[in-house]
Subunit: 389 residues, 2 copies
């Protein structure tokens, strides 16, 4: 086991009706609130009205930042920073999914950024610094942004999608009933995102971090049990709650404790795809993951034991031939993703090979691929992209 | 799944050499340090000297509170509070196991307690209030006090051992190599304590909290894998590290997330035992647990499914007859405890039945037994104690 630091200061209220804590928690930080959200879904579901009533009853002064995109853009971050400065904002309230929360994390740090180019802040942010307090109300189980310090921001001018570390939310309100209205496609894609966060840590050099591996396996089993239920019965509270708890933990860093950081290669490859095409993060990850698994299994025999562990502990498979067992585990991952009804090839998304070489050339940001569990060259990445067609 | 709040503000440094963060972390709070520890073990191992050098090099002013007992007493809490007040202490540094940390938690709150009877503070403390910052260096994997807000304090005048909530440590330094010197008996007892924390939550009304159950099962498997290794090879870093990570999480509340609180009946019964006899907490728990399991399995058929789950997921057992499988799971728990070499009966500890009626009469503190997963009457408790003879 390697050294690690657990440092998650977020107070997370989980469950039905936890919005009752909103006014008190916001009030700890002040009265001037930036209310941030994405498109119209929070208005359609009535959550916007519920929040506005709480804010109005509590005597909060509200400034709105709306229209945050699914892959949040640096231009939205800039708008948010300007609104915070102009309105002397005390606390940001993000109502939405990972994109809205990510955007708000960058805004919260951007307010204190002294340079004049916020994109530079994203590119150079490796550690949380000073930032406005952020409270969020989560509306989809997926990215885990409600319980981690990172954010992913897209710059369409440069075709870049980059991660930065800006700080944990102070408070996250995770009410699974707010996800009843999430459509099937987004439910399946969000679940694939949760699983990808686990896979990215699970395939690591360090084999002896039992609890981290056990938590990872528990999340995978829980998602594959509960996502199909949520797809059939969108308002099944238990299924939605399990998915939300899984999402909270999957990206928190906890499943990596004691293990060597792996570079998160599927995310690195996915960020290239969605920097070129405005597509759904979780779907790309579901498409990439089994292809990446087959590639690393073929390329490096050290991976066999990890796939065998996955097969045994998560899928209950057994077989004397370890390589056959490893392949069966990958088949099971792919079959699960297929069963959720999302597209499982890039061509279904209308993506061809025209940018593969460029994307493969850019994907190794910060050495994430050259230092990965199984290092990947640009040629390797191109091969994986082609396998996704 | 039920509602819950995750709120663990402790910054936990895990791994070899993490003491390098000590001076910086203490310095956040001030220069006047109360250094608290138990008996001579921290002096024998050299940890005391290492800490004193860091404090001296960092220009800290040190006041010492030594001789904290294995079941820490309210008299030690009172000594600590007095030292803090007399010396204008900024931060408490606890070096030791759960007993030392528990004592320091009560001291940290006691400094701000306005009444004149600290025992009343323990009895009435149900929520963390104002308290001095506490930094700890953990030396045994067991109670999980390094990552929770509670403490257990004993009053020998009244034969009471009671839990209070005083607040999380601000910082915990968890270096598994500090546990190399923990003797076999204490290693096994500490591991039984970790497992008991899990069992106390696992047997709950709420069956659908998948992640909490998965984490619980992972901890149980990890402890039963790594404790025997640590018993054979006391300086096996990987085994010690896994046990420490297991201990951190087991008592953190996380394995209870989404589940109904169960009253922690084995702890309630154990607190009575160790309020009358100055014995090792983890050993009592190992003795009580299988007897309690057999009792509740016999008393209430609803428990069968939980024991079946335990048998299947933790011990890899299978059998068409669910009751037989449930009993086999309990046999496996008992056999594991026996294999670690600790006494598995009260008579081996020289304890007879003379106080059983009194203890059974007192054990239901705060309704912990009447509101338990399977409610226990004083007669039930006496029957369980007798089965432990």
């Amino acid at each position: 086991m390697l050294n690690y630091v657990h440092d998650i200061p977020t107070r997370l209220y989980f469950g039905q009706g936890q919005i009752s804590h909103l006014a008190e928690e916001l009030g700890r930080f002040g009265k001037n609130v930036l209310l941030a959200y994405g498109g119209g879904s929070v208005k359609r579901t009535g959550l916007y009205d519920e929040v506005m009533k709480i804010l109005s009853d509590g005597g909060f002064k509200v400034t709105e930042l709306s229209g945050i995109e699914p892959n949040p853009r640096i231009t939205s971050v800039a708008r948010g920073v300007q609104l915070c400065k102009e309105n002397d904002i005390d606390v940001i309230l993000a109502v939405g999914g990972g994109s809205t929360i990510d955007c708000c994390k960058a805004v919260s740090a951007g307010v204190f950024y002294e340079g004049d180019d916020l994109w530079k802040m994203v590119l150079t942010s490796k550690k949380a610094g000073k930032h406005l307090p952020l409270v969020d109300i989560l509306t989809i189980s997926a990215t885990g942004s409600e319980f981690d310090a990172g954010a992913v921001i897209t710059n369409w001018e440069t075709n870049e999608k980059m991660s930065g570390i800006f700080g944990h939310p102070a408070v996250s309100i995770c009410d699974p009933s707010y996800t009843f209205s999430v459509p099937k496609y987004q439910t399946a894609a969000g679940s694939a995102d949760i699983m990808s966060h686990v896979f990215e840590n699970y395939f690591s050099e360090t084999p002896d971090s039992d609890l981290a591996d056990g938590i990872s396996e528990s999340i995978l089993k829980s998602v594959m049990k509960n996502c199909p239920i949520a797809l059939e019965e969108p308002d099944n509270y238990s299924a939605r709650a399990n998915l939300m708890a899984d999402a909270n933990v999957a990206c928190s860093g906890i499943p990596l404790y004691g293990k060597k950081y792996t570079g998160w290669p599927c995310h690195a490859m996915e960020h290239e795809l969605s920097a070129y095409y405005d597509i759904t993060h979780g779907v790309d990850l579901a498409i990439l993951t089994p292809r990446w698994m087959r590639f690393i299994l073929k390329k490096d025999p050290k991976t066999v034991s990890r796939f065998v562990k996955l097969g045994r502990n998560v899928f209950g498979l057994d077989c004397d031939d370890e390589l056959a067992l490893a392949n069966a585990a990958i088949d099971a991952v792919e079959a699960y993703f297929k069963s959720t009804g999302i597209p499982m090839s890039l061509s279904e998304l209308g993506i061809g090979e025209e940018h593969f070489a460029d994307m493969a050339g850019h994907a190794d940001v910060g050495g994430r691929l050259t230092n990965a569990y199984v290092p990947l060259s640009p040629a390797d990445v191109e091969e994986i992209y082609r396998a996704c067609l």
